[in-house]
Amino acid sequence: QDPAPAADWALCPSPEGLPLFQPLADPATSAADPATLATDISAENLDVSGRETTVFEGDVELRRGGQWLGTDKLTYSHESERFVTEGQVRFQDDGIRFTADQAAGDQKADTIVLDGVQYQFNQNAGNGRADRITMRGDLGEMAGGTYSTCPPGQRQWEFSASRIDVDQEEAMGTARNATLRLGGVPVLWLPYIRFPTDDRRRTGLLSPKIGFDDRNGFDYEQPVYLNLAPNYDATLTPRWMARRGLMLGAQFRYLTARSRGEIEGTWLGNDDEPGRGYDRGVASLRHTTSLGPNWYASADLNHVSDVFYFDDFNDSLASTSITLLPSTAGLYGRGYGWTASLSAQRWQIANPLVLPGTEPYRRLPAADLRWNKALLPWMEFGLQAEAVRFDHETLAGGTRVDLRPTLRLPFGGAAWYATPEFSWRYTSWSLDGGLLAPGADRSPTRSLPITRFDAGAFFEREFAWGDGRLLQTLEPRLVYLNVPYREQDDLPLFDTQPLTFSWPGLFRDNRFGGADRQADADQVTLAVTSRVLDTADGRERLSASLGRIHYFDPPRVTVPGAPPLSDDGSAWVAEASLTLGQRWTLGLAQQWDPDRERTNLSAVRSQWRFGDGGLVNAAYRYRADVLEQGDLSFVVPVNDRWRLLGRWNYSLRDRETLESLAGVEWKSCCLAVRVLAREYIREFGGDRNLGIYLELELNGVGSLGRDTARLLDDAILDYSR
């Protein structure tokens, strides 16, 4: 949500706001060093009789560089280059403008001291009063000041502080010993807050997150933003929960010439909740270092104290249902026609329903190389190689090397392509003792050719539609795949499972993810796609696809628990998506299994945008034997102040609501208040968590309150877009 544009108080017009006294000077003029600038003072009359002083009277205006000052009477002493005003003073420079009872300036030191001040920033809606303001070049220091982006007459929220410093160069304000008043009622005291004085920066004051839910009772979180240096800053976030105690959160971001990263963590000393009386917390490090044009190193390490953490402390179904916490670190390289990586990866179980020992194998390390070279326009040679050492907490590990040289002959023209592809897959394992049945081979290998022929054509026609022209394409495609059968039942299963059957599944050369299994195949895929593109901007208005795999020879390679395959062929796969104007999109997906005459998958998803930020998402998902759900979410602007938000995720299969959310948002020109009620199921025991969350957004001061865009984005698709 963009902070209110400068002084745009459309929602609450206010006469008391300070008008712009002067057209804003072109910043270039005030860039010069003030000390060298001449001071021009105009008035109705002036008195040069004084020893070293000139007294100006009547509509006095003083100008220097970008500074302008207007008053009734001004006495300028030339020796000391100081002036004092009498009568109401108006002052303006590039960033800020005031009215004051009295002002005294020192042109040599380039300072102006104003008393009894009302001020207004030029670049954003920030304004307020101060007992005294000392302007020193770009720096302003207010004593006994107030700050808000609400118009002077309607103080829905206001900060008062013993001292507010404004750095116009950085366009940041810092308040010390600040008290936040909502509608005049003091609600929050902060030792130190920072806020942007123009809309260049998004960061700024981070406001309290106030909520109440079944798990933690009253839940109050107060981030404090510390801008330590231009290239690193930190946010400390104490969070007090009635039923658990005080949790400390910290986030440290850093940026150097070649690296950037973020260290984040929370820590709660011996949780007061019965049954959880130990230390709780999560820690994560994200870091990237560039090592030149082609190589970079990166790390994404995470650790959580216990499996109940996310369920206890996160706030949405999406974030509480985290099951595995990955940690990856490695060296990655990418160049023209090649990518390579050497990385390590491990998983930590973060969900009580995942039994210890069932987490995926650790890859300590995994080396991966993909290289591709066009020897001739119609001949390409490629190599895909992977070597991985698998390790596991409880299961025996092993090492696997998978090599796959490929020769591709991409023939084709504008309207057709035919690409025979011959590759040889050689995979060898060396297994630790524990994995072996007695007498089995410790270092099995599997070696087989993969032959693939991928051919397609493009037909098209243009036709007029409304006042534009549309281009419709018809793209038939045929893929023949032949992979001989190899006995693989006694090979280990480190990282391999059947892939979800879907549209890309029609064209893959392996039904399994991971190299532990290579599916046998003697099959042909027939598919067709038609698209309608708008020739004005290229946007795809419609696309519809249909396809199926026909088995000449039924596949035999399988893994325990894999879905049974029919002899004749795969399920039919149909997909379509439709976009009408900018407002309405529809997506359909259907899989029909002719062999068992049943629908494997049926999904409908539509989104409708209306009015100013109105949004409705409706979706239905059915996956045989797995789930059948409806999901409705909406944002309805009632008028320019009120908006209703909601989501309802209902499982038809279990006849139960999975997550429901209802919220109302009231917005004025400078304040947004959101109240959200959210209920979602919790993992075990099927009980539910009901949370009520209050969210304040002080416009123009950076977003304030629970990161609603993320919170609602989880719930309401594209809320933030």
């Binding site: 109705e44 009359n45 040069v48 009789s49 070293e52 000139t54």
Partner: protein, 143 residues
Amino acid sequence: RSTDRSQPMDIDADSTDALLGDDAVTTMNGNVRIRQGTLEVDADRAEIHRAGGDISQIVLTGAPARLRQVSDTGEPMDARAQRVVYDRTSEIMVLTGAVLIEQPRGSVRGETLKYNLDTGRIEGGGDGQGISMRILPKTAPAN
């Protein structure tokens, strides 16, 4: 400056047509130069009005007429204007037309200025233009 008035005033010009008589007007044309104490006046044309034998008013015009003087505080003043009317009885000098008064403290500009030699007060001539003074920072060389 206040001492100037007691100083002898000598005036000369290319041509003068003086009319005798206490209330006559003397008109001088071409390179008019008036010197009295620290007061130095140069103009193209001057009219000197007399009342009761004393000079009551001097009207100077030039392109521009120029008037220099040193104030009691020792500050030199250099004024230029297309037309200067100096009324000796009220000690008011009215300068009109691209008026520029330069002093070390700053230069004053305006279209119509009333300069009171006694009080040192300069008034904008009420023509809506007002007057303005440009003050240079001490460090910068006077332009």
